[in-house]
Symmetry: C2
Protein backbone atom coordinates (compact mmCIF):
# COMPACT_ATOMS: atom_id res chain seq x y z
CA UNK A 1 0.00 0.00 0.00
CA UNK A 2 2.88 2.33 0.78
CA UNK A 3 4.25 1.76 -2.73
CA UNK A 4 0.93 2.83 -4.22
CA UNK A 5 0.85 5.90 -2.05
CA UNK A 6 4.30 6.91 -3.24
CA UNK A 7 3.45 6.12 -6.82
CA UNK A 8 0.35 8.28 -6.78
CA UNK A 9 2.29 11.13 -5.22
CA UNK A 10 4.52 11.14 -8.28
CA UNK A 11 1.56 12.20 -10.34
CA UNK A 12 -0.35 14.43 -7.95
CA UNK A 13 -0.87 14.12 -4.18
CA UNK A 14 -4.21 13.14 -2.71
CA UNK A 15 -5.93 14.65 0.35
CA UNK A 16 -6.19 12.36 3.36
CA UNK A 17 -9.92 11.95 2.90
CA UNK A 18 -9.47 10.95 -0.74
CA UNK A 19 -6.77 8.51 0.16
CA UNK A 20 -9.00 7.02 2.84
CA UNK A 21 -11.85 6.45 0.39
CA UNK A 22 -9.46 4.99 -2.16
CA UNK A 23 -7.94 2.69 0.44
CA UNK A 24 -11.39 1.44 1.42
CA UNK A 25 -12.17 0.55 -2.19
CA UNK A 26 -8.94 -1.36 -2.88
CA UNK A 27 -8.77 -5.14 -2.71
CA UNK A 28 -5.53 -7.04 -2.45
CA UNK A 29 -4.98 -9.75 -5.06
CA UNK A 30 -2.31 -12.43 -4.88
CA UNK A 31 -1.74 -14.52 -7.97
CA UNK A 32 0.73 -17.19 -9.03
CA UNK A 33 2.90 -17.24 -12.12
CA UNK A 34 0.88 -18.20 -15.17
CA UNK A 35 -2.49 -17.03 -13.83
CA UNK A 36 -4.58 -14.46 -15.67
CA UNK A 37 -5.72 -11.01 -14.63
CA UNK A 38 -7.99 -10.60 -17.62
CA UNK A 39 -8.94 -12.82 -20.49
CA UNK A 40 -9.73 -11.88 -24.07
CA UNK A 41 -13.42 -11.35 -24.74
CA UNK A 42 -14.39 -10.13 -21.28
CA UNK A 43 -14.96 -6.53 -20.29
CA UNK A 44 -12.21 -5.54 -17.93
CA UNK A 45 -13.78 -4.51 -14.60
CA UNK A 46 -10.68 -3.45 -12.70
CA UNK A 47 -7.66 -1.31 -12.83
CA UNK A 48 -4.77 -2.76 -10.83
CA UNK A 49 -1.73 -1.41 -9.14
CA UNK A 50 1.12 -3.88 -9.50
CA UNK A 51 3.04 -4.03 -6.25
CA UNK A 52 5.13 -7.13 -6.84
CA UNK A 53 5.80 -9.35 -9.84
CA UNK A 54 5.58 -8.80 -13.57
CA UNK A 55 2.93 -9.22 -16.23
CA UNK A 56 2.51 -9.41 -19.95
CA UNK A 57 -0.34 -8.34 -22.19
CA UNK A 58 -0.84 -10.51 -25.23
CA UNK A 59 -3.41 -11.18 -27.91
CA UNK A 60 -4.00 -13.76 -30.57
CA UNK A 61 -2.92 -13.09 -34.15
CA UNK A 62 -3.54 -15.97 -36.57
CA UNK A 63 -3.01 -18.48 -33.79
CA UNK A 64 0.16 -16.85 -32.52
CA UNK A 65 0.45 -15.14 -29.15
CA UNK A 66 1.61 -11.57 -29.62
CA UNK A 67 2.96 -10.07 -26.42
CA UNK A 68 2.69 -6.31 -26.85
CA UNK A 69 3.53 -4.98 -23.42
CA UNK A 70 5.11 -5.82 -20.10
CA UNK A 71 4.46 -4.40 -16.66
CA UNK A 72 6.74 -4.40 -13.65
CA UNK A 73 6.50 -3.20 -10.06
CA UNK A 74 4.78 0.11 -9.36
CA UNK A 75 2.58 0.69 -12.35
CA UNK A 76 -1.11 0.76 -13.01
CA UNK A 77 -2.24 -2.02 -15.28
CA UNK A 78 -5.45 -2.97 -16.97
CA UNK A 79 -6.63 -3.57 -20.46
CA UNK A 80 -7.03 0.16 -21.03
CA UNK A 81 -9.03 -0.25 -24.20
CA UNK A 82 -11.56 -2.48 -22.49
CA UNK A 83 -11.59 -0.73 -19.13
CA UNK A 84 -12.14 2.69 -20.67
CA UNK A 85 -14.43 1.85 -23.56
CA UNK A 86 -16.36 -0.82 -21.63
CA UNK A 87 -16.03 -3.20 -24.54
CA UNK A 88 -14.65 -6.77 -24.51
CA UNK A 89 -10.89 -6.96 -24.20
CA UNK A 90 -8.88 -8.07 -27.23
CA UNK A 91 -5.98 -8.95 -24.98
CA UNK A 92 -5.06 -11.27 -22.12
CA UNK A 93 -3.04 -10.22 -19.11
CA UNK A 94 -0.96 -12.92 -17.49
CA UNK A 95 1.45 -13.10 -14.58
CA UNK A 96 5.04 -13.90 -15.60
CA UNK A 97 6.00 -14.25 -11.92
CA UNK A 98 4.05 -14.70 -8.69
CA UNK A 99 2.63 -11.30 -7.88
CA UNK A 100 0.72 -8.98 -5.59
CA UNK A 101 -1.73 -6.39 -6.90
CA UNK A 102 -4.35 -3.98 -5.63
CA UNK A 103 -7.63 -3.96 -7.50
CA UNK A 104 -10.09 -1.12 -7.94
CA UNK A 105 -13.39 -1.62 -9.76
CA UNK A 106 -14.54 0.60 -12.59
CA UNK A 107 -17.53 1.77 -10.59
CA UNK A 108 -15.47 2.63 -7.52
CA UNK A 109 -13.04 4.58 -9.64
CA UNK A 110 -15.82 6.57 -11.31
CA UNK A 111 -17.23 7.29 -7.89
CA UNK A 112 -13.87 8.51 -6.65
CA UNK A 113 -13.49 10.71 -9.72
CA UNK A 114 -16.92 12.21 -9.12
CA UNK A 115 -16.46 12.93 -5.45
CA UNK A 116 -12.81 13.93 -5.29
CA UNK A 117 -11.39 16.54 -7.62
CA UNK A 118 -7.84 15.60 -6.60
CA UNK A 119 -8.48 12.03 -7.74
CA UNK A 120 -9.66 13.35 -11.09
CA UNK A 121 -6.52 15.43 -11.33
CA UNK A 122 -4.33 12.45 -10.50
CA UNK A 123 -6.11 10.44 -13.18
CA UNK A 124 -5.70 13.20 -15.74
CA UNK A 125 -1.98 13.51 -15.07
CA UNK A 126 -1.44 9.77 -15.04
CA UNK A 127 -3.13 9.44 -18.41
CA UNK A 128 -1.07 12.29 -19.84
CA UNK A 129 2.11 10.52 -18.82
CA UNK A 130 0.98 7.13 -20.05
CA UNK A 131 0.12 8.68 -23.39
CA UNK A 132 3.57 10.20 -23.70
CA UNK A 133 5.27 6.93 -22.77
CA UNK A 134 3.28 5.01 -25.35
CA UNK A 135 4.12 7.61 -27.97
CA UNK A 136 7.80 7.36 -27.09
CA UNK A 137 7.70 3.63 -27.55
CA UNK A 138 5.85 4.03 -30.84
CA UNK A 139 8.41 6.47 -32.21
CA UNK A 140 11.34 4.41 -31.03
CA UNK A 141 10.12 1.48 -33.11
CA UNK A 142 8.66 3.27 -36.09
CA UNK A 143 10.76 2.79 -39.19
CA UNK A 144 13.55 1.06 -37.30
CA UNK A 145 14.90 -2.31 -38.22
CA UNK A 146 15.05 -5.28 -35.88
CA UNK A 147 18.60 -4.74 -34.67
CA UNK A 148 17.97 -1.11 -33.83
CA UNK A 149 14.78 -1.92 -31.96
CA UNK A 150 16.62 -4.47 -29.88
CA UNK A 151 19.42 -2.05 -29.12
CA UNK A 152 16.88 0.56 -28.07
CA UNK A 153 15.43 -1.97 -25.68
CA UNK A 154 18.76 -2.88 -24.12
CA UNK A 155 19.38 0.83 -23.68
CA UNK A 156 16.00 2.00 -22.43
CA UNK A 157 14.59 -1.03 -20.64
CA UNK A 158 17.42 -3.39 -19.72
CA UNK A 159 15.35 -4.76 -16.83
CA UNK A 160 13.02 -6.39 -19.36
CA UNK A 161 15.85 -8.55 -20.67
CA UNK A 162 16.55 -9.86 -17.21
CA UNK A 163 13.07 -10.95 -16.31
CA UNK A 164 11.33 -11.92 -19.52
CA UNK A 165 11.76 -14.99 -21.78
CA UNK A 166 13.23 -14.23 -25.18
CA UNK A 167 10.19 -15.38 -27.08
CA UNK A 168 8.03 -12.74 -25.45
CA UNK A 169 10.61 -10.06 -26.07
CA UNK A 170 10.80 -10.92 -29.76
CA UNK A 171 7.09 -10.51 -30.16
CA UNK A 172 7.18 -7.29 -28.11
CA UNK A 173 9.71 -5.97 -30.63
CA UNK A 174 7.63 -7.20 -33.54
CA UNK A 175 10.17 -9.74 -34.79
CA UNK A 176 10.46 -13.53 -34.72
CA UNK A 177 12.32 -15.34 -32.02
CA UNK A 178 14.82 -16.68 -34.53
CA UNK A 179 15.71 -13.21 -35.74
CA UNK A 180 16.16 -11.98 -32.18
CA UNK A 181 18.39 -14.92 -31.38
CA UNK A 182 20.58 -14.16 -34.39
CA UNK A 183 20.81 -10.49 -33.47
CA UNK A 184 22.02 -11.42 -30.03
CA UNK A 185 24.54 -13.91 -31.41
CA UNK A 186 26.18 -11.18 -33.47
CA UNK A 187 26.54 -8.61 -30.69
Amino acid sequence: MKALFEHINQYSPLADTTWKDLEAALKKVDLAKGEFLIKEGKVCQHVYFLEKGCLRGFYDLDGKEITHWFAFENTFVTSFFSFISRKPSFENIQLMEDGTLWALTYEDLQQLYLTHADMERMGRIMHERYYVMLEERFVRNHFKEAKERYENLTLNSPHILQRVPLGYIASYLGITQETLSRIRAKS
Copy 2:
Protein backbone atom coordinates in the same frame (compact mmCIF):
# COMPACT_ATOMS: atom_id res chain seq x y z
CA MET B 1 -15.96 27.97 -31.88
CA LYS B 2 -19.16 26.01 -32.15
CA ALA B 3 -17.21 23.03 -33.43
CA LEU B 4 -14.98 23.12 -30.36
CA PHE B 5 -18.00 23.35 -28.10
CA GLU B 6 -19.49 20.27 -29.70
CA HIS B 7 -16.22 18.44 -29.63
CA ILE B 8 -15.71 19.05 -25.94
CA ASN B 9 -19.25 17.91 -25.21
CA GLN B 10 -18.35 14.53 -26.68
CA TYR B 11 -15.92 14.04 -23.85
CA SER B 12 -17.68 15.74 -20.95
CA PRO B 13 -19.81 18.88 -20.88
CA LEU B 14 -18.57 22.12 -19.34
CA ALA B 15 -20.51 24.52 -17.12
CA ASP B 16 -21.27 27.91 -18.68
CA THR B 17 -18.77 29.64 -16.41
CA THR B 18 -16.04 27.21 -17.40
CA TRP B 19 -16.83 27.63 -21.04
CA LYS B 20 -16.70 31.39 -20.66
CA ASP B 21 -13.26 31.30 -19.08
CA LEU B 22 -12.05 28.90 -21.73
CA GLU B 23 -13.44 31.08 -24.49
CA ALA B 24 -11.66 34.10 -23.06
CA ALA B 25 -8.34 32.28 -23.12
CA LEU B 26 -8.59 31.01 -26.69
CA LYS B 27 -6.88 32.78 -29.58
CA LYS B 28 -7.79 32.20 -33.19
CA VAL B 29 -4.91 31.24 -35.47
CA ASP B 30 -5.06 31.26 -39.26
CA LEU B 31 -2.20 29.66 -41.12
CA ALA B 32 -1.40 28.85 -44.72
CA LYS B 33 -0.41 25.51 -46.20
CA GLY B 34 3.22 24.76 -45.46
CA GLU B 35 3.48 26.90 -42.33
CA PHE B 36 4.51 25.44 -38.99
CA LEU B 37 2.65 25.20 -35.71
CA ILE B 38 5.66 23.98 -33.80
CA LYS B 39 9.27 23.37 -34.72
CA GLU B 40 11.64 20.73 -33.44
CA GLY B 41 13.79 21.89 -30.54
CA LYS B 42 11.30 24.34 -29.04
CA VAL B 43 9.11 23.71 -26.04
CA CYS B 44 5.53 23.57 -27.24
CA GLN B 45 3.56 26.32 -25.48
CA HIS B 46 0.10 25.66 -26.85
CA VAL B 47 -2.50 23.07 -27.35
CA TYR B 48 -4.65 23.72 -30.42
CA PHE B 49 -8.08 22.80 -31.54
CA LEU B 50 -8.08 22.24 -35.28
CA GLU B 51 -11.23 23.71 -36.77
CA LYS B 52 -10.33 23.63 -40.45
CA GLY B 53 -7.50 22.14 -42.46
CA CYS B 54 -5.13 19.25 -41.84
CA LEU B 55 -1.72 18.85 -40.29
CA ARG B 56 1.13 16.41 -40.08
CA GLY B 57 3.61 15.73 -37.32
CA PHE B 58 7.06 14.75 -38.50
CA TYR B 59 10.58 14.39 -37.21
CA ASP B 60 14.01 13.93 -38.64
CA LEU B 61 15.53 10.46 -38.84
CA ASP B 62 18.98 10.32 -40.47
CA GLY B 63 18.09 13.23 -42.69
CA LYS B 64 14.72 11.81 -43.69
CA GLU B 65 11.41 13.35 -42.69
CA ILE B 66 9.30 10.79 -40.88
CA THR B 67 5.63 11.76 -40.76
CA HIS B 68 4.18 9.86 -37.83
CA TRP B 69 0.70 11.32 -37.47
CA PHE B 70 -1.95 13.35 -39.23
CA ALA B 71 -4.67 15.54 -37.82
CA PHE B 72 -7.93 16.61 -39.43
CA GLU B 73 -10.87 18.78 -38.45
CA ASN B 74 -12.14 18.65 -34.88
CA THR B 75 -9.23 17.31 -32.91
CA PHE B 76 -6.87 18.66 -30.31
CA VAL B 77 -3.32 18.84 -31.53
CA THR B 78 0.01 19.68 -30.00
CA SER B 79 3.34 18.00 -29.57
CA PHE B 80 2.03 16.09 -26.58
CA PHE B 81 5.44 14.98 -25.44
CA SER B 82 6.74 18.53 -25.37
CA PHE B 83 3.58 20.19 -24.13
CA ILE B 84 3.17 17.77 -21.24
CA SER B 85 6.77 17.20 -20.24
CA ARG B 86 7.83 20.81 -20.90
CA LYS B 87 10.86 19.60 -22.81
CA PRO B 88 11.92 20.56 -26.35
CA SER B 89 9.85 18.98 -29.07
CA PHE B 90 11.41 16.24 -31.21
CA GLU B 91 8.80 16.84 -33.87
CA ASN B 92 7.55 19.51 -36.23
CA ILE B 93 3.90 20.22 -36.90
CA GLN B 94 3.08 21.58 -40.32
CA LEU B 95 -0.10 22.58 -42.16
CA MET B 96 -0.87 20.37 -45.15
CA GLU B 97 -3.68 22.74 -46.15
CA ASP B 98 -4.63 26.29 -45.19
CA GLY B 99 -6.18 26.04 -41.75
CA THR B 100 -7.93 27.62 -38.80
CA LEU B 101 -7.07 26.73 -35.23
CA TRP B 102 -7.79 27.86 -31.69
CA ALA B 103 -4.79 28.16 -29.40
CA LEU B 104 -4.65 27.78 -25.64
CA THR B 105 -1.43 28.34 -23.73
CA TYR B 106 -0.02 25.84 -21.26
CA GLU B 107 -0.42 28.29 -18.39
CA ASP B 108 -4.02 29.10 -19.23
CA LEU B 109 -4.84 25.42 -19.46
CA GLN B 110 -3.28 24.68 -16.07
CA GLN B 111 -5.23 27.59 -14.62
CA LEU B 112 -8.45 26.24 -16.06
CA TYR B 113 -7.70 22.80 -14.66
CA LEU B 114 -7.07 24.28 -11.23
CA THR B 115 -10.16 26.41 -11.08
CA HIS B 116 -12.72 24.22 -12.86
CA ALA B 117 -13.22 20.61 -11.87
CA ASP B 118 -15.27 19.97 -15.01
CA MET B 119 -12.35 21.09 -17.14
CA GLU B 120 -10.12 18.65 -15.33
CA ARG B 121 -12.66 15.93 -15.96
CA MET B 122 -12.85 16.78 -19.62
CA GLY B 123 -9.05 16.64 -19.83
CA ARG B 124 -8.94 13.30 -18.05
CA ILE B 125 -11.50 11.77 -20.38
CA MET B 126 -9.90 13.23 -23.47
CA HIS B 127 -6.54 11.77 -22.49
CA GLU B 128 -8.10 8.39 -21.79
CA ARG B 129 -9.55 8.33 -25.28
CA TYR B 130 -6.40 9.55 -26.95
CA TYR B 131 -4.46 6.82 -25.18
CA VAL B 132 -6.83 4.16 -26.42
CA MET B 133 -6.69 5.48 -29.98
CA LEU B 134 -2.91 5.48 -29.98
CA GLU B 135 -2.87 1.96 -28.62
CA GLU B 136 -5.28 0.85 -31.31
CA ARG B 137 -3.04 2.27 -33.98
CA PHE B 138 -0.03 0.63 -32.38
CA VAL B 139 -1.66 -2.80 -32.30
CA ARG B 140 -2.96 -2.47 -35.84
CA ASN B 141 0.57 -2.04 -37.12
CA HIS B 142 2.47 -4.30 -34.76
CA PHE B 143 3.72 -7.42 -36.49
CA LYS B 144 1.84 -6.64 -39.68
CA GLU B 145 3.43 -6.46 -43.05
CA ALA B 146 3.26 -3.48 -45.36
CA LYS B 147 0.29 -4.61 -47.40
CA GLU B 148 -1.79 -5.34 -44.33
CA ARG B 149 -0.96 -1.98 -42.76
CA TYR B 150 -2.07 -0.24 -45.92
CA GLU B 151 -5.28 -2.20 -46.08
CA ASN B 152 -5.97 -1.34 -42.45
CA LEU B 153 -5.56 2.30 -43.35
CA THR B 154 -7.92 2.17 -46.30
CA LEU B 155 -10.42 0.47 -44.03
CA ASN B 156 -10.09 2.56 -40.90
CA SER B 157 -9.01 5.97 -42.18
CA PRO B 158 -9.95 6.29 -45.84
CA HIS B 159 -10.11 10.10 -45.49
CA ILE B 160 -6.34 10.15 -45.05
CA LEU B 161 -5.84 8.74 -48.54
CA GLN B 162 -7.91 11.50 -50.02
CA ARG B 163 -6.12 14.44 -48.47
CA VAL B 164 -2.53 13.40 -47.92
CA PRO B 165 0.34 12.94 -50.43
CA LEU B 166 1.48 9.35 -50.81
CA GLY B 167 4.97 10.04 -49.56
CA TYR B 168 3.67 11.11 -46.18
CA ILE B 169 1.37 8.13 -45.97
CA ALA B 170 4.20 5.72 -46.67
CA SER B 171 6.23 7.12 -43.82
CA TYR B 172 3.15 7.11 -41.57
CA LEU B 173 2.87 3.39 -42.29
CA GLY B 174 6.56 2.85 -41.71
CA ILE B 175 7.36 1.82 -45.28
CA THR B 176 9.05 3.44 -48.26
CA GLN B 177 7.17 5.33 -50.89
CA GLU B 178 8.23 2.83 -53.54
CA THR B 179 6.82 -0.08 -51.58
CA LEU B 180 3.54 1.72 -51.05
CA SER B 181 3.32 2.52 -54.74
CA ARG B 182 3.84 -1.13 -55.62
CA ILE B 183 1.23 -2.26 -53.11
CA ARG B 184 -1.29 0.07 -54.69
CA ALA B 185 -0.41 -1.09 -58.19
CA LYS B 186 -1.24 -4.67 -57.27
CA SER B 187 -4.61 -4.00 -55.68
